[in-house]
């Protein structure tokens, strides 16, 4: 076994191995919703679901795993304590990870057998005298030396600062060598081309040094290259600080940067995000496991101890302990290298440093309480949010000062759109593993429009059945994920059970599930305190309504629905489910309503003549261009294609999640972190649509 723990197999370890094999907790990549959407029930197969890699024994990989997600998975794997194991379902190998211990296909029976096999292997091989070492290639760290007072002084070797003569202090960092601590691309840089800038205020971000530099999105100052910060956070601060306009002010600003930088560079979460290639590799706020090279727990302890001998004792300085902002004191205490030395040096040079001085230049949030801001990744592998969604919150205490969504799941599918028109629907169906039916239909509709083919009513009815069933399955999966996020165990478990059952059944025979679904939908609104929990979270009032589609729009009172103009739907008496409120509660209500409504549509469409879901025959030398739209479970998806002689030459896709991802900053900024996560989850973002 690749993930064996070092040690000779004694009788006591034999017993422990048995226990470990029996008590299997799995961390799922990308996420458990995708597993359930494939009709698999990991819990029925004997797996518990871990919420952090630290508590997992098994890494459960479910295809597709794009490269950047694979990098995150390798970090997750390194975070898992040994013995650890990898089970790959529907995917054979993932770059950056050791070869899976067991590979199986997407099938419940196969999964159950695979879990038994994993158990057998763990029982036999949990301990091994020659446990292989796992090196993460996604994240490499190195030590650089920085002046505690002049953050611009960064050297690859120890020495003293040319400006003030202070000893340089070591800090660990990620990524390529650079002369400046802030030179690494920020997550914002990755996201710059992302569409979330569409609705932004063009003056939303500004440079702390150059107020004239304004931008709609986070990024770099064109004048000095410093990271841009939200304008709201600097207005009064800048006005107050810059009046004297002296170099001393400059110095203070730089110091604020070193405080932020110190935490970030030493804190593993930030470090991960500062890395260029592996910018989003850190799945979690956890550090990269030191033991990736260590061999045993005792080794870990010893290594840690020896490396941190300088600051394993409690920090001596009392003024650090009374820090009002946890993050600042955290920095000073934890990252003893920088923090303690800073304290000592400043004590030598200038005496006691007051809290007022320490917090003077920190960015201020609306409540005016100065706190250190830290970038914390909530993804791409964060249980509770869609797997693959790479969300980073800049936390000001436990409030969100800034939110950034980046493209972790980019698979470069655009390159595959061109090709034979006959296979185009199959290729487009791969866009989102959760809604293949809707995208296949979208491609077919576009091709049929190009060809000018009329759709047979029986086929239209069959399509309604399939698409509406997919909507039900999708909403149930969302409810399971959402229930887990808000901590309602009953909601999470019941929705998950129905999700798996619905995914297995398919639109053909929903019979036995109808009653259970209707009861479930009727019961969810009666969950105690659910309304209070969700009311007012993620309110879409004031955002660009153009960005909202599907359930998100309909929860805000906008009856936008691609099904409205469809004659086949009109014949079935369709009307969209619309609520007002525009918050997480309204979105939940809309999705619940849509489960019922889609169930009605499926049943109504079933009563009509049945037909195979086969596309109308298209001419072999089809040429032309056309657009089409389908109401996917997340909202209207548009497609514009050009076809020449039976070959698709151009395809432009307009999925709903792109606009919804652009809503994230507006919906989360200023919210408490749990509320911000609820707001993001209520959008039901598809990371696959954000990064096709």
């Amino acid at each position: 076994m690749n993930g064996a723990r070092a040690g000779v197999l004694t009788w006591s370890r034999r017993l422990l191995s048995r226990a470990i094999a029996h008590d299997l907790a799995a961390f799922v990549v990308p996420d458990v919703r995708l597993v359930r959407a494939a009709g698999l029930d990991p819990e029925a197969a004997g797996l518990a679901l871990a919420t952090t890699p630290r508590h997992a024994t098994l890494l459960l990989l479910v295809g597709p795993v794009p490269d950047r997600l694979a990098a995150a998975a390798s970090v997750t794997y390194a975070q898992m304590p040994r013995p650890r194991s990898i089970l790959a379902v529907g995917v054979s190998a993932v770059p950056g990870l050791p070869e899976p211990d067991v590979v199986t296909r997407l099938d419940q029976g196969a999964l159950r057998a695979a879990v038994v096999e994993v158990r057998r292997r763990l029982t036999a091989g949990a301990f091994s005298p020659e446990a292989p070492v796992f090196e993460i290639t996604a994240v490499e760290t190195r030590t650089e030396y920085v002046c505690p007072m002049h953050p611009e002084i960064v050297r690859p070797e120890p020495g003293s600062c040319p400006i003030c003569g202070m000893d340089l202090v070591p800090r660990e960092t990620v990524g390529p060598t650079s002369l400046c601590g802030h030179d690494y691309p920020s997550p914002a840089d990755h996201a710059a081309p992302a569409p979330r800038v569409r609705d932004s205020d063009p003056t939303a971000f500004t440079c702390p040094m150059h107020p004239e530099a304004r931008a709609a999105a986070p990024g770099r100052c064109p004048i000095c290259g410093m990271r841009l910060v939200p304008a709201s956070s600097v207005t009064d601060h800048a006005a107050r600080e810059h009046e004297p306009g002296s170099m001393a002010e400059h110095g203070r600003h730089e110091r604020a940067e070193v405080q932020r930088g110190a935490h970030g560079d030493h804190g593993p979460w930030r470090a991960g995000h500062e890395a260029p290639a592996a910018g989003d590799a850190l799945a979690h706020g956890h550090g990269v496991e030191r033991g990736a090279t260590g061999q045993d727990a005792t080794n870990h302890a010893a290594m840690d101890h020896s490396e941190h001998h300088g600051h394993v004792s409690p920090p001596p300085a009392d003024d650090e302990r009374v820090a009002p902002a946890p993050a600042i004191a955290h920095t000073a205490m934890e990252h003893g290298d920088t923090g303690h030395d800073t304290m000592n040096h400043s004590a030598h040079g200038g005496g006691f440093m007051s809290m007022v001085a320490m917090t003077r230049d920190l960015p201020r949030s609306d409540d005016g309480l100065p706190m250190e801001w830290i970038d914390v990744p909530f993804g791409p592998l964060f249980p509770g949010l869609p797997g693959g969604l790479d969300l980073t919150f800049t936390l000001d205490g436990d409030g969100v000062a800034r939110a950034v969504v980046t493209e972790a799941t980019a698979r470069g599918l655009e390159a595959t759109w061109a090709g034979p028109a006959s296979t185009f629907p199959g290729r487009l169906a791969r866009l989102d593993p959760l809604t293949p039916v809707a995208y296949r239909l979208l491609a077919r509709r576009a091709l049929e429009t190009v060809a000018g083919v009329a759709v047979d009513p029986a086929i239209a009815a069959a399509r309604i059945r399939e698409v509406e069933w997919e909507r039900i399955v999708n909403h149930l999966g969302w409810l399971a994920e959402f229930g887990f996020l808000i901590g309602d165990q009953w909601l999470a478990a019941s929705a998950a059970t129905l999700h798996v059952a619905a995914a297995r059944t398919g639109a053909a025979g929903p019979g036995a599930l109808i009653g259970a679904m209707r009861r479930f939908v009727a019961r969810v609104p009666r969950v105690p305190l659910l309304d209070r929990r969700l009311e007012g979270i993620g309110e879409s009032a004031g955002v660009d309504p153009e960005l909202m589609r599907g359930p998100v729009a309909r929860a805000a009172g906008i009856a936008s629905d691609a099904r409205l103009g469809d004659d086949a739907y009109t014949a079935l008496g369709f009307s969209p489910v619309v609520r007002t409120g525009g918050d997480a509660l309204a979105r939940l209500q809309v999705r619940l309503g849509e489960i019922s409504a889609s169930l009605d549509l499926v049943l109504a469409a079933t009563s009509g003549p049945s037909a195979e879901l086969r596309p109308a025959r298209l001419p072999a030398d089809l040429s032309g261009s056309a657009g089409a739209a389908v109401e996917t479970p997340r909202g209207m998806a548009g497609l514009h294609i050009a076809v020449e002689r039976g070959m698709v030459t151009m395809a432009h896709i307009d999925p709903p999640s792109v606009g919804h991802a652009a809503l994230v900053p507006a919906l989360t900024t200023g919210a408490e972190v749990a509320d911000a996560l609820v707001a993001v989850a209520s959008l039901d973002l598809s990371p696959w649509e954000v990064a096709p």
Binding site: L16, T51, R54, G267, G287, F382, P528, L529, R533, V673
Partner: protein, 298 residues
């Protein structure tokens, strides 16, 4: 006696672990906690990259100590109590106060953002629940005219405090769930939003200590509900210790079961309800206790 008490406490923790597994997975597996515990000792116990080593190492142990100290003054039977302190009801509060300290240490120690947010969040939770623990106990002590836990049980010989002070019972019950951070008050672990929170960085043997400590904490809180409100060892047929045990486990089961159906409480709602509703109710409960005692005396 000491051995008997320790064994009883461990048996209680084991039973509570089985109950928790039953409530969360829906399956009754009596061997699961044993296997899970062994498995934890078989896994590596990792130290995060840049921990505050002292806080990281001591937090689970402190949580364990807090639970044990609380257990020391809770009587299983009239003569089956580790320390029959004259100020037992006060002492148990003091012991629980260290739960907050331990969780903040566990949040701070590993240098992880999730853990840190979770640790500080529990401080907010303490501000919400602290008065709901102390004030109902005051009313209970008024009736017993003593702070000794054994005297409080004996004072319920006529009828239990749950009937005498129903408001206090409800408040204390909810506060007890908040102390033990059981759902829906699991803000410091918050599986869906903070990926395990304060426990997120603990693995192997350290996690085993953390989990054992939490189970013992649940036992002490369920036992406290039993002793303060449900007549402790009082009951027919069975021996005294059995009654305390049965009631404690039923309280724990009800705590686990009830939390399943409610979403996690938002921290600001918790504070709002606690200060705007809970404290006035707790004062009313004390007044009610005074009035009823005066009336009975008359």
């Amino acid at each position: 006696m000491a051995v008997a008490l320790v064994l009883a406490l461990l048996a209680g923790a084991y039973a509570v672990a089985v109950l928790e597994g039953w409530a969360t997975t829906g399956r009754f597996r009596p061997a699961a906690p044993l296997i899970a515990g062994l498995a934890l000792f078989g896994r590596e116990s990792l130290v995060p990259r840049r921990p505050d080593r002292l806080l990281f190492e001591t937090a689970p142990v402190l949580l364990l100590i807090a639970a044990l100290l609380a257990a020391a003054v809770l009587p299983l039977a009239p003569n089956l109590v580790a320390v029959d302190l004259a100020t037992g009801a006060l002492f148990v509060n003091a012991a629980w106060a260290y739960v907050m300290v331990a969780l903040i240490m566990a949040g701070w120690g590993p240098d992880g953002a999730y853990a840190m947010v979770a640790g500080w969040r529990f401080l907010g939770q303490l501000v919400a629940y602290a008065m709901m623990i102390v004030m109902p106990i005051s009313a209970v002590a008024m009736r017993a005219e003593s702070l000794a836990t054994t005297a409080i049980v004996q004072s319920q010989a006529g009828f239990w405090n749950v009937a005498a002070q129903p408001i206090g019972f409800v408040l204390f019950w909810l506060a007890a769930m908040a102390v033990a951070f059981l759902p829906p008050f699991d803000l410091p672990t918050a599986p869906g939003t903070l990926a395990g929170g304060v426990a997120a960085e603990y693995t192997g043997a350290r996690l085993a200590i953390f989990r054992l400590a939490r189970l013992l904490l649940v036992v002490t809180l369920a036992a406290a509900v039993t002793i303060f409100y449900l007549g402790g060892w009082l009951g027919p047929w069975f021996p005294a210790w059995a009654w305390t045990g049965i009631k404690t486990l039923m309280v724990a089961a009800a705590m686990f079961g009830g939390g399943r159906f409610v979403p996690r409480i938002r921290v600001e709602h918790l504070l709002q309800w606690s200060w705007k509703l809970g404290i006035p109710l707790a004062l009313l409960n004390i007044a009610w206790a005074g009035v009823t005692l005066w009336w009975v005396d008359r």
